[in-house]
Amino acid sequence: MTQGLPEPLIYARGLVKRFGNFVAVDGIDLDVAAGEAFGFLGPNGAGKSSTMRMIGCVSPTSGGTLRILGLDPRTQGPQIRARLGVVPQLDTLDLELTVRENLLIYGRYFGLPRSVVRERAEQLLDFVQLADRAEDKVEPLSGGMKRRLTIARSLINEPQVLLLDEPTTGLDPQARHVVWDRLFRLKHQGVTLVLTTHYMDEAEQLCDRLVVMDKGRIAAEGSPRELIEQYSSRDVVELRFPLGENEVAAEKLIGLGDRLEVLPDRVLLYADDGDGCLDEVHARGVTPVSVLVRRSTLEDVFLRLTGRSLVD
Protein backbone atom coordinates (compact mmCIF):
# COMPACT_ATOMS: atom_id res chain seq x y z
CA MET A 1 0.00 0.00 0.00
CA THR A 2 2.90 2.32 0.67
CA GLN A 3 4.48 1.46 -2.66
CA GLY A 4 5.22 4.47 -4.80
CA LEU A 5 5.78 6.63 -1.74
CA PRO A 6 9.40 7.59 -1.17
CA GLU A 7 9.73 6.29 2.37
CA PRO A 8 7.39 5.85 5.32
CA LEU A 9 7.44 8.84 7.70
CA ILE A 10 8.04 6.46 10.55
CA TYR A 11 9.95 3.27 9.95
CA ALA A 12 10.88 0.82 12.69
CA ARG A 13 12.29 -2.68 12.58
CA GLY A 14 12.90 -4.71 15.71
CA LEU A 15 12.58 -1.58 17.84
CA VAL A 16 13.50 -2.22 21.47
CA LYS A 17 13.39 -0.10 24.63
CA ARG A 18 14.87 -1.39 27.85
CA PHE A 19 14.95 0.21 31.28
CA GLY A 20 17.58 -1.81 33.14
CA ASN A 21 16.30 -5.38 32.96
CA PHE A 22 12.76 -4.35 32.12
CA VAL A 23 11.88 -4.59 28.45
CA ALA A 24 9.26 -1.94 27.74
CA VAL A 25 9.23 -2.36 23.96
CA ASP A 26 10.19 -5.78 22.73
CA GLY A 27 11.11 -5.67 19.07
CA ILE A 28 8.30 -4.02 17.12
CA ASP A 29 8.02 -3.19 13.42
CA LEU A 30 6.17 -0.09 12.23
CA ASP A 31 5.50 1.73 8.99
CA VAL A 32 3.49 4.92 9.09
CA ALA A 33 2.85 6.60 5.75
CA ALA A 34 2.32 10.29 5.09
CA GLY A 35 -1.24 11.41 5.78
CA GLU A 36 -2.14 8.36 7.81
CA ALA A 37 -3.82 8.42 11.20
CA PHE A 38 -2.08 5.68 13.09
CA GLY A 39 -2.99 4.47 16.56
CA PHE A 40 -1.33 2.54 19.36
CA LEU A 41 -3.84 0.71 21.51
CA GLY A 42 -2.96 -1.17 24.60
CA PRO A 43 -3.38 -1.46 28.34
CA ASN A 44 -1.22 0.56 30.71
CA GLY A 45 2.37 -0.63 30.58
CA ALA A 46 2.04 -2.10 27.10
CA GLY A 47 4.89 0.06 25.80
CA LYS A 48 2.84 2.68 23.94
CA SER A 49 4.32 5.74 25.60
CA SER A 50 7.87 4.39 25.43
CA THR A 51 7.40 3.87 21.70
CA MET A 52 6.00 7.37 21.33
CA ARG A 53 8.94 8.86 23.20
CA MET A 54 11.39 7.07 20.93
CA ILE A 55 9.50 8.32 17.87
CA GLY A 56 9.55 11.81 19.41
CA CYS A 57 13.36 11.56 19.70
CA VAL A 58 13.42 12.24 23.43
CA SER A 59 14.24 8.66 24.35
CA PRO A 60 17.19 6.76 22.86
CA THR A 61 16.39 3.38 21.37
CA SER A 62 17.89 0.31 23.05
CA GLY A 63 17.94 -1.77 19.88
CA GLY A 64 16.62 -2.16 16.37
CA THR A 65 16.25 0.38 13.60
CA LEU A 66 14.23 3.58 13.77
CA ARG A 67 13.98 6.26 11.12
CA ILE A 68 11.71 9.28 11.37
CA LEU A 69 11.10 11.41 8.26
CA GLY A 70 13.99 9.48 6.72
CA LEU A 71 16.36 10.70 9.45
CA ASP A 72 18.20 8.92 12.23
CA PRO A 73 17.03 9.89 15.74
CA ARG A 74 20.42 9.02 17.23
CA THR A 75 22.23 11.74 15.32
CA GLN A 76 19.53 14.01 13.92
CA GLY A 77 17.19 14.39 16.88
CA PRO A 78 16.94 18.20 16.75
CA GLN A 79 16.24 18.21 12.98
CA ILE A 80 13.53 15.60 13.44
CA ARG A 81 11.97 17.31 16.45
CA ALA A 82 11.83 20.54 14.45
CA ARG A 83 9.31 18.83 12.15
CA LEU A 84 7.26 17.00 14.79
CA GLY A 85 4.37 18.20 16.90
CA VAL A 86 4.03 16.63 20.33
CA VAL A 87 1.00 16.48 22.59
CA PRO A 88 2.33 14.78 25.71
CA GLN A 89 0.28 12.69 28.08
CA LEU A 90 0.71 15.23 30.87
CA ASP A 91 0.20 18.86 29.93
CA THR A 92 3.38 20.90 30.06
CA LEU A 93 1.70 24.29 29.75
CA ASP A 94 2.95 27.15 31.86
CA LEU A 95 -0.03 27.92 34.07
CA GLU A 96 1.31 31.33 35.12
CA LEU A 97 1.53 32.60 31.56
CA THR A 98 -1.36 33.54 29.33
CA VAL A 99 -2.77 31.34 26.62
CA ARG A 100 -1.08 33.43 23.92
CA GLU A 101 2.24 33.62 25.77
CA ASN A 102 2.34 29.85 25.94
CA LEU A 103 2.16 29.73 22.16
CA LEU A 104 4.71 32.51 21.65
CA ILE A 105 7.26 30.92 23.97
CA TYR A 106 6.86 27.55 22.36
CA GLY A 107 7.23 29.01 18.88
CA ARG A 108 10.47 30.62 20.01
CA TYR A 109 11.81 27.19 21.02
CA PHE A 110 11.69 26.31 17.34
CA GLY A 111 13.67 29.41 16.46
CA LEU A 112 10.81 30.81 14.41
CA PRO A 113 10.84 34.57 13.82
CA ARG A 114 8.62 36.50 16.22
CA SER A 115 6.37 37.83 13.45
CA VAL A 116 5.74 34.31 12.13
CA VAL A 117 4.98 32.97 15.60
CA ARG A 118 2.57 35.83 16.30
CA GLU A 119 0.66 35.24 13.11
CA ARG A 120 0.46 31.50 13.59
CA ALA A 121 -0.55 31.89 17.23
CA GLU A 122 -3.62 33.89 16.21
CA GLN A 123 -4.60 31.34 13.57
CA LEU A 124 -4.13 28.46 15.98
CA LEU A 125 -6.13 30.16 18.73
CA ASP A 126 -8.97 30.44 16.24
CA PHE A 127 -8.50 26.85 15.20
CA VAL A 128 -8.81 25.51 18.74
CA GLN A 129 -11.54 28.03 19.63
CA LEU A 130 -9.54 29.82 22.31
CA ALA A 131 -9.20 33.23 20.64
CA ASP A 132 -11.41 34.87 23.27
CA ARG A 133 -9.22 33.46 26.06
CA ALA A 134 -5.91 34.58 24.52
CA GLU A 135 -5.16 37.08 27.30
CA ASP A 136 -6.23 34.82 30.15
CA LYS A 137 -3.86 32.85 32.28
CA VAL A 138 -3.88 29.11 31.62
CA GLU A 139 -4.44 28.12 35.24
CA PRO A 140 -8.25 28.54 35.42
CA LEU A 141 -8.97 26.97 32.02
CA SER A 142 -10.90 23.70 31.92
CA GLY A 143 -9.14 20.43 31.15
CA GLY A 144 -10.56 20.44 27.64
CA MET A 145 -9.35 23.97 26.96
CA LYS A 146 -5.87 23.15 28.24
CA ARG A 147 -5.80 20.13 25.99
CA ARG A 148 -6.81 22.23 23.00
CA LEU A 149 -4.13 24.75 23.87
CA THR A 150 -1.56 21.95 24.02
CA ILE A 151 -2.72 20.84 20.58
CA ALA A 152 -2.49 24.40 19.25
CA ARG A 153 0.99 24.68 20.71
CA SER A 154 2.08 21.43 19.08
CA LEU A 155 1.08 22.89 15.70
CA ILE A 156 3.10 26.11 15.96
CA ASN A 157 5.94 24.69 13.84
CA GLU A 158 3.50 23.34 11.21
CA PRO A 159 4.62 19.77 11.89
CA GLN A 160 4.51 16.97 9.35
CA VAL A 161 3.73 14.44 12.03
CA LEU A 162 1.65 15.06 15.13
CA LEU A 163 2.30 12.72 18.06
CA LEU A 164 -0.53 12.54 20.57
CA ASP A 165 -0.10 10.53 23.76
CA GLU A 166 -3.58 9.84 25.15
CA PRO A 167 -5.00 13.09 23.80
CA THR A 168 -8.38 12.92 25.54
CA THR A 169 -7.66 11.04 28.75
CA GLY A 170 -9.40 12.76 31.64
CA LEU A 171 -11.69 14.91 29.50
CA ASP A 172 -15.47 14.94 29.73
CA PRO A 173 -17.46 13.66 26.70
CA GLN A 174 -18.16 17.13 25.27
CA ALA A 175 -14.52 18.13 25.50
CA ARG A 176 -13.43 14.86 23.92
CA HIS A 177 -15.68 15.41 20.94
CA VAL A 178 -14.31 18.89 20.40
CA VAL A 179 -10.76 17.52 20.45
CA TRP A 180 -11.69 14.73 18.07
CA ASP A 181 -13.28 17.22 15.71
CA ARG A 182 -10.09 19.31 15.63
CA LEU A 183 -7.91 16.26 15.08
CA PHE A 184 -10.20 15.13 12.32
CA ARG A 185 -9.76 18.47 10.58
CA LEU A 186 -5.99 18.20 10.87
CA LYS A 187 -6.11 14.77 9.34
CA HIS A 188 -8.03 16.21 6.42
CA GLN A 189 -5.39 18.89 6.03
CA GLY A 190 -2.90 16.08 5.47
CA VAL A 191 -1.18 16.06 8.86
CA THR A 192 -0.01 12.60 9.79
CA LEU A 193 -1.43 11.67 13.18
CA VAL A 194 0.15 9.13 15.50
CA LEU A 195 -1.71 8.61 18.73
CA THR A 196 -1.90 6.33 21.70
CA THR A 197 -5.15 5.68 23.44
CA HIS A 198 -6.97 3.20 25.56
CA TYR A 199 -10.33 4.53 24.43
CA MET A 200 -11.67 2.25 21.74
CA ASP A 201 -14.14 4.81 20.47
CA GLU A 202 -11.27 7.25 20.02
CA ALA A 203 -9.34 4.72 17.97
CA GLU A 204 -12.40 3.92 15.85
CA GLN A 205 -13.13 7.60 15.32
CA LEU A 206 -9.67 8.71 14.32
CA CYS A 207 -7.44 5.88 13.20
CA ASP A 208 -7.07 4.55 9.67
CA ARG A 209 -4.82 1.87 11.00
CA LEU A 210 -3.77 0.76 14.41
CA VAL A 211 -1.70 -1.72 16.32
CA VAL A 212 -2.73 -3.36 19.56
CA MET A 213 0.25 -3.54 21.88
CA ASP A 214 0.56 -5.89 24.81
CA LYS A 215 3.61 -6.46 26.99
CA GLY A 216 5.88 -4.54 24.64
CA ARG A 217 4.87 -6.43 21.52
CA ILE A 218 2.41 -5.86 18.71
CA ALA A 219 -0.45 -8.26 19.22
CA ALA A 220 -2.43 -7.26 16.12
CA GLU A 221 -2.38 -4.74 13.33
CA GLY A 222 -4.94 -3.44 10.84
CA SER A 223 -7.79 -1.01 10.30
CA PRO A 224 -10.47 -0.98 13.01
CA ARG A 225 -12.77 -2.87 10.59
CA GLU A 226 -10.15 -5.48 9.76
CA LEU A 227 -9.32 -6.08 13.39
CA ILE A 228 -12.97 -6.62 14.29
CA GLU A 229 -13.40 -9.01 11.38
CA GLN A 230 -10.28 -10.89 12.25
CA TYR A 231 -10.54 -11.08 16.02
CA SER A 232 -14.23 -10.85 16.76
CA SER A 233 -17.57 -11.78 15.22
CA ARG A 234 -19.91 -9.29 13.56
CA ASP A 235 -22.32 -9.30 16.52
CA VAL A 236 -22.13 -9.88 20.22
CA VAL A 237 -25.06 -11.17 22.29
CA GLU A 238 -24.86 -10.13 25.93
CA LEU A 239 -26.93 -12.21 28.31
CA ARG A 240 -27.49 -11.47 31.97
CA PHE A 241 -28.64 -14.08 34.46
CA PRO A 242 -29.51 -13.96 38.15
CA LEU A 243 -26.46 -13.80 40.37
CA GLY A 244 -24.46 -17.03 40.43
CA GLU A 245 -26.29 -18.69 37.56
CA ASN A 246 -23.92 -17.65 34.78
CA GLU A 247 -21.97 -20.91 34.75
CA VAL A 248 -25.06 -23.10 34.72
CA ALA A 249 -26.65 -21.09 31.92
CA ALA A 250 -23.40 -21.03 29.95
CA GLU A 251 -23.21 -24.83 29.92
CA LYS A 252 -26.54 -24.95 28.13
CA LEU A 253 -25.27 -22.50 25.52
CA ILE A 254 -22.18 -24.44 24.49
CA GLY A 255 -21.92 -24.64 20.73
CA LEU A 256 -23.82 -21.45 20.00
CA GLY A 257 -22.07 -18.71 18.09
CA ASP A 258 -18.35 -18.63 17.31
CA ARG A 259 -17.22 -18.21 20.87
CA LEU A 260 -18.63 -18.07 24.35
CA GLU A 261 -17.26 -16.00 27.18
CA VAL A 262 -18.41 -16.07 30.79
CA LEU A 263 -17.82 -12.87 32.73
CA PRO A 264 -18.66 -12.28 36.38
CA ASP A 265 -21.76 -10.27 35.47
CA ARG A 266 -22.80 -11.61 32.09
CA VAL A 267 -22.31 -14.22 29.39
CA LEU A 268 -21.15 -13.11 25.93
CA LEU A 269 -21.88 -14.99 22.73
CA TYR A 270 -19.89 -13.94 19.69
CA ALA A 271 -21.85 -14.60 16.50
CA ASP A 272 -22.12 -13.24 12.98
CA ASP A 273 -25.90 -13.22 13.25
CA GLY A 274 -26.77 -11.95 16.69
CA ASP A 275 -30.55 -12.15 16.38
CA GLY A 276 -30.39 -15.67 14.96
CA CYS A 277 -28.13 -16.66 17.80
CA LEU A 278 -30.56 -15.23 20.32
CA ASP A 279 -33.38 -17.27 18.80
CA GLU A 280 -31.29 -20.39 19.38
CA VAL A 281 -30.70 -19.35 22.98
CA HIS A 282 -34.45 -19.17 23.52
CA ALA A 283 -34.96 -22.41 21.61
CA ARG A 284 -32.71 -24.14 24.17
CA GLY A 285 -35.06 -22.97 26.90
CA VAL A 286 -32.60 -20.53 28.43
CA THR A 287 -34.26 -17.34 29.71
CA PRO A 288 -31.84 -14.56 30.59
CA VAL A 289 -32.89 -11.65 32.82
CA SER A 290 -31.85 -9.22 30.13
CA VAL A 291 -30.51 -9.40 26.60
CA LEU A 292 -28.50 -7.07 24.40
CA VAL A 293 -27.59 -7.79 20.80
CA ARG A 294 -24.97 -5.38 19.51
CA ARG A 295 -22.25 -4.96 16.92
CA SER A 296 -18.73 -6.00 17.80
CA THR A 297 -16.47 -3.11 18.68
CA LEU A 298 -12.76 -2.64 18.97
CA GLU A 299 -13.21 -3.09 22.67
CA ASP A 300 -14.12 -6.74 22.08
CA VAL A 301 -10.97 -7.13 20.00
CA PHE A 302 -8.91 -5.33 22.58
CA LEU A 303 -10.12 -7.42 25.50
CA ARG A 304 -9.69 -10.61 23.56
CA LEU A 305 -6.11 -9.74 22.64
CA THR A 306 -4.94 -8.23 25.89
CA GLY A 307 -7.05 -10.15 28.37
CA ARG A 308 -9.48 -9.00 30.99
CA SER A 309 -7.19 -9.01 33.96
CA LEU A 310 -6.64 -5.61 35.49
CA VAL A 311 -3.37 -3.89 34.65
CA ASP A 312 -2.25 -1.39 37.23
Partner: protein
Amino acid sequence: MSTLSSLPAMRSYSYWLQVYKRTWRGTVITSVVSPVMYLAAMGVGLGSLVKGGQGTGGLSYLQFVAPGLLAATAMQIGSAEATYPVLGGFKWIRNYHAAAVTPLSPGAILAGHLMWIATRGAMASGIYLAIVAAFGGLRTSLAILALPVCVLVALAFAAPVAAYAATREMDNGFAALQRFGIVPMFLFSGTFFSVTQLPWAIRPIAYITPLWHGVQLTRDLTTGQLESGGAWLVPVHVGYLLALTALGVFLALKYFRSRLTV
Protein backbone atom coordinates in the same frame (compact mmCIF):
# COMPACT_ATOMS: atom_id res chain seq x y z
CA MET B 1 19.72 34.64 8.80
CA SER B 2 21.25 33.51 12.03
CA THR B 3 21.09 36.06 14.80
CA LEU B 4 22.08 35.90 18.42
CA SER B 5 18.45 35.45 19.49
CA SER B 6 18.06 32.35 17.31
CA LEU B 7 20.80 30.48 19.20
CA PRO B 8 19.21 27.51 20.97
CA ALA B 9 20.33 28.67 24.42
CA MET B 10 18.80 32.10 23.77
CA ARG B 11 15.47 30.50 22.91
CA SER B 12 15.47 28.76 26.27
CA TYR B 13 16.57 32.03 27.89
CA SER B 14 13.61 33.84 26.37
CA TYR B 15 11.27 31.56 28.31
CA TRP B 16 12.67 32.82 31.61
CA LEU B 17 12.57 36.38 30.39
CA GLN B 18 8.89 35.98 29.50
CA VAL B 19 8.09 34.52 32.92
CA TYR B 20 10.07 37.31 34.58
CA LYS B 21 7.99 39.95 32.83
CA ARG B 22 5.15 38.82 35.10
CA THR B 23 7.10 38.98 38.34
CA TRP B 24 9.78 41.61 37.90
CA ARG B 25 8.15 44.24 40.12
CA GLY B 26 8.41 42.13 43.24
CA THR B 27 12.01 41.17 42.62
CA VAL B 28 13.09 44.73 41.88
CA ILE B 29 11.54 45.93 45.12
CA THR B 30 13.36 43.15 46.99
CA SER B 31 16.59 44.02 45.19
CA VAL B 32 16.31 47.64 46.34
CA VAL B 33 14.83 47.26 49.81
CA SER B 34 17.05 44.43 50.98
CA PRO B 35 20.41 46.19 50.43
CA VAL B 36 19.08 49.41 51.93
CA MET B 37 18.01 47.54 55.06
CA TYR B 38 21.23 45.54 55.38
CA LEU B 39 23.49 48.49 54.74
CA ALA B 40 21.53 50.67 57.15
CA ALA B 41 21.49 48.03 59.87
CA MET B 42 24.95 46.52 59.44
CA GLY B 43 26.95 49.21 57.73
CA VAL B 44 25.55 52.27 59.47
CA GLY B 45 23.93 50.93 62.66
CA LEU B 46 26.27 48.18 63.70
CA GLY B 47 29.10 50.06 61.99
CA SER B 48 28.70 52.88 64.51
CA LEU B 49 29.76 50.43 67.23
CA VAL B 50 32.62 48.89 65.27
CA LYS B 51 35.91 50.70 65.15
CA GLY B 52 37.68 50.10 61.89
CA GLY B 53 41.09 48.64 62.60
CA GLN B 54 43.29 45.67 61.93
CA GLY B 55 40.32 43.34 61.55
CA THR B 56 38.78 45.50 58.82
CA GLY B 57 42.06 46.32 57.14
CA GLY B 58 41.75 49.88 58.27
CA LEU B 59 38.40 50.34 56.51
CA SER B 60 35.24 51.73 58.00
CA TYR B 61 32.83 48.94 58.85
CA LEU B 62 30.44 50.06 56.11
CA GLN B 63 33.22 49.86 53.53
CA PHE B 64 34.22 46.49 54.94
CA VAL B 65 30.82 44.84 55.11
CA ALA B 66 29.32 46.23 51.86
CA PRO B 67 31.37 44.04 49.45
CA GLY B 68 30.65 41.06 51.71
CA LEU B 69 26.92 41.64 51.44
CA LEU B 70 27.30 42.22 47.72
CA ALA B 71 28.91 38.82 47.12
CA ALA B 72 26.51 37.14 49.53
CA THR B 73 23.56 38.51 47.55
CA ALA B 74 24.99 37.04 44.37
CA MET B 75 25.34 33.72 46.19
CA GLN B 76 21.76 33.79 47.37
CA ILE B 77 20.35 34.66 43.96
CA GLY B 78 22.48 32.02 42.29
CA SER B 79 21.53 29.22 44.65
CA ALA B 80 17.87 30.14 45.08
CA GLU B 81 17.25 30.47 41.35
CA ALA B 82 18.78 27.04 40.80
CA THR B 83 16.67 25.17 43.36
CA TYR B 84 12.87 25.45 42.97
CA PRO B 85 12.90 26.77 39.39
CA VAL B 86 15.10 23.85 38.25
CA LEU B 87 13.12 21.16 40.04
CA GLY B 88 9.94 22.88 38.89
CA GLY B 89 11.21 22.68 35.32
CA PHE B 90 11.26 18.91 35.68
CA LYS B 91 8.41 18.28 38.10
CA TRP B 92 5.86 21.03 38.54
CA ILE B 93 5.75 23.49 35.67
CA ARG B 94 7.54 20.93 33.48
CA ASN B 95 8.78 23.65 31.16
CA TYR B 96 11.99 21.65 30.61
CA HIS B 97 9.92 18.76 29.31
CA ALA B 98 7.96 21.12 27.09
CA ALA B 99 11.21 22.39 25.60
CA ALA B 100 12.77 18.93 25.31
CA VAL B 101 10.34 17.81 22.61
CA THR B 102 11.30 20.82 20.47
CA PRO B 103 14.67 21.08 18.68
CA LEU B 104 16.26 22.33 21.92
CA SER B 105 18.80 19.96 23.46
CA PRO B 106 19.14 19.44 27.22
CA GLY B 107 22.38 21.42 26.99
CA ALA B 108 20.61 24.40 25.41
CA ILE B 109 17.83 24.20 28.00
CA LEU B 110 20.40 24.23 30.82
CA ALA B 111 22.53 26.94 29.22
CA GLY B 112 19.52 29.23 28.75
CA HIS B 113 18.53 28.83 32.37
CA LEU B 114 22.04 29.47 33.70
CA MET B 115 22.32 32.52 31.47
CA TRP B 116 19.08 33.73 32.93
CA ILE B 117 20.34 33.19 36.49
CA ALA B 118 23.49 35.13 35.55
CA THR B 119 21.25 37.94 34.33
CA ARG B 120 19.32 37.96 37.59
CA GLY B 121 22.60 37.97 39.49
CA ALA B 122 23.82 40.91 37.42
CA MET B 123 20.59 42.84 37.96
CA ALA B 124 20.47 42.33 41.72
CA SER B 125 24.21 42.99 42.13
CA GLY B 126 24.05 46.08 39.93
CA ILE B 127 21.29 47.54 42.08
CA TYR B 128 23.22 46.56 45.19
CA LEU B 129 26.38 48.19 43.94
CA ALA B 130 24.54 51.41 43.13
CA ILE B 131 23.06 51.49 46.62
CA VAL B 132 26.45 50.82 48.22
CA ALA B 133 27.76 53.77 46.22
CA ALA B 134 24.91 55.92 47.52
CA PHE B 135 25.84 54.91 51.06
CA GLY B 136 29.40 55.98 50.36
CA GLY B 137 30.67 52.42 50.59
CA LEU B 138 32.84 52.42 47.44
CA ARG B 139 36.36 53.79 47.52
CA THR B 140 37.32 53.42 43.88
CA SER B 141 35.78 53.28 40.41
CA LEU B 142 37.38 49.85 40.05
CA ALA B 143 34.35 48.76 42.04
CA ILE B 144 32.45 48.41 38.79
CA LEU B 145 34.49 45.24 38.21
CA ALA B 146 32.76 43.75 41.23
CA LEU B 147 29.74 43.30 38.97
CA PRO B 148 31.23 40.57 36.74
CA VAL B 149 32.66 39.00 39.87
CA CYS B 150 29.14 38.82 41.31
CA VAL B 151 27.90 37.17 38.13
CA LEU B 152 30.68 34.62 38.50
CA VAL B 153 29.74 34.04 42.15
CA ALA B 154 26.08 33.56 41.15
CA LEU B 155 27.11 30.98 38.54
CA ALA B 156 29.55 29.22 40.85
CA PHE B 157 26.58 28.54 43.10
CA ALA B 158 23.88 28.14 40.46
CA ALA B 159 25.61 25.48 38.39
CA PRO B 160 26.34 22.97 41.18
CA VAL B 161 22.99 23.66 42.85
CA ALA B 162 21.19 23.12 39.51
CA ALA B 163 23.04 19.81 39.20
CA TYR B 164 21.85 18.84 42.67
CA ALA B 165 18.30 20.01 42.01
CA ALA B 166 18.23 17.96 38.80
CA THR B 167 18.77 14.80 40.85
CA ARG B 168 15.87 15.52 43.21
CA GLU B 169 12.31 14.25 43.16
CA MET B 170 11.20 16.38 46.09
CA ASP B 171 12.14 19.80 47.38
CA ASN B 172 12.94 18.80 50.96
CA GLY B 173 16.70 18.94 50.35
CA PHE B 174 16.55 22.65 49.52
CA ALA B 175 15.75 23.78 53.04
CA ALA B 176 18.73 21.78 54.32
CA LEU B 177 20.95 23.28 51.63
CA GLN B 178 19.86 26.72 52.76
CA ARG B 179 20.22 25.97 56.46
CA PHE B 180 23.49 24.05 56.42
CA GLY B 181 25.11 25.54 53.34
CA ILE B 182 24.02 29.01 52.38
CA VAL B 183 23.29 30.53 55.80
CA PRO B 184 26.57 29.38 57.45
CA MET B 185 28.49 30.71 54.45
CA PHE B 186 26.61 33.97 54.68
CA LEU B 187 27.63 34.30 58.31
CA PHE B 188 31.18 32.92 58.38
CA SER B 189 32.81 33.36 54.96
CA GLY B 190 34.25 36.79 55.61
CA THR B 191 31.03 38.67 54.95
CA PHE B 192 30.68 40.39 58.33
CA PHE B 193 34.14 39.87 59.76
CA SER B 194 37.48 38.75 58.43
CA VAL B 195 38.04 35.02 58.36
CA THR B 196 41.30 35.66 60.21
CA GLN B 197 39.15 36.34 63.29
CA LEU B 198 38.02 32.70 63.25
CA PRO B 199 39.86 30.14 65.39
CA TRP B 200 42.72 28.79 63.27
CA ALA B 201 41.29 25.24 63.37
CA ILE B 202 38.14 26.12 61.46
CA ARG B 203 39.68 28.73 59.20
CA PRO B 204 40.44 26.18 56.40
CA ILE B 205 36.71 25.46 56.19
CA ALA B 206 36.09 29.12 55.45
CA TYR B 207 38.84 29.07 52.83
CA ILE B 208 37.18 26.33 50.82
CA THR B 209 33.78 28.01 50.75
CA PRO B 210 33.15 29.64 47.38
CA LEU B 211 31.62 32.67 49.05
CA TRP B 212 34.92 33.51 50.77
CA HIS B 213 36.66 33.65 47.40
CA GLY B 214 33.88 35.86 46.07
CA VAL B 215 33.98 38.18 49.07
CA GLN B 216 37.76 38.56 48.82
CA LEU B 217 37.41 39.61 45.20
CA THR B 218 34.57 42.07 45.71
CA ARG B 219 36.35 43.55 48.71
CA ASP B 220 39.59 43.94 46.75
CA LEU B 221 37.66 45.74 44.04
CA THR B 222 35.34 48.02 46.02
CA THR B 223 37.98 49.12 48.50
CA GLY B 224 40.83 49.35 46.04
CA GLN B 225 43.17 47.68 48.50
CA LEU B 226 44.26 44.12 48.01
CA GLU B 227 43.87 41.70 50.87
CA SER B 228 47.00 40.98 52.82
CA GLY B 229 47.78 37.92 50.68
CA GLY B 230 48.53 40.11 47.68
CA ALA B 231 47.73 40.18 44.02
CA TRP B 232 48.59 36.55 43.32
CA LEU B 233 45.46 35.48 45.20
CA VAL B 234 43.19 37.20 42.69
CA PRO B 235 43.63 34.54 39.98
CA VAL B 236 43.28 31.86 42.66
CA HIS B 237 39.88 33.23 43.67
CA VAL B 238 38.74 33.64 40.08
CA GLY B 239 40.09 30.21 39.17
CA TYR B 240 38.34 28.59 42.11
CA LEU B 241 34.99 30.11 41.19
CA LEU B 242 35.46 29.23 37.52
CA ALA B 243 36.36 25.65 38.42
CA LEU B 244 33.29 25.32 40.58
CA THR B 245 31.13 26.69 37.77
CA ALA B 246 32.68 24.27 35.30
CA LEU B 247 32.19 21.31 37.60
CA GLY B 248 28.60 22.34 38.20
CA VAL B 249 27.89 22.72 34.50
CA PHE B 250 29.47 19.34 33.77
CA LEU B 251 27.34 17.57 36.38
CA ALA B 252 24.17 19.53 35.61
CA LEU B 253 24.50 18.69 31.93
CA LYS B 254 24.84 15.02 32.78
CA TYR B 255 21.75 15.02 35.00
CA PHE B 256 19.69 17.18 32.63
CA ARG B 257 20.48 14.78 29.80
CA SER B 258 19.61 11.68 31.74
CA ARG B 259 16.40 13.19 33.05
CA LEU B 260 15.14 14.67 29.78
CA THR B 261 16.06 11.75 27.53
CA VAL B 262 14.90 8.56 29.19
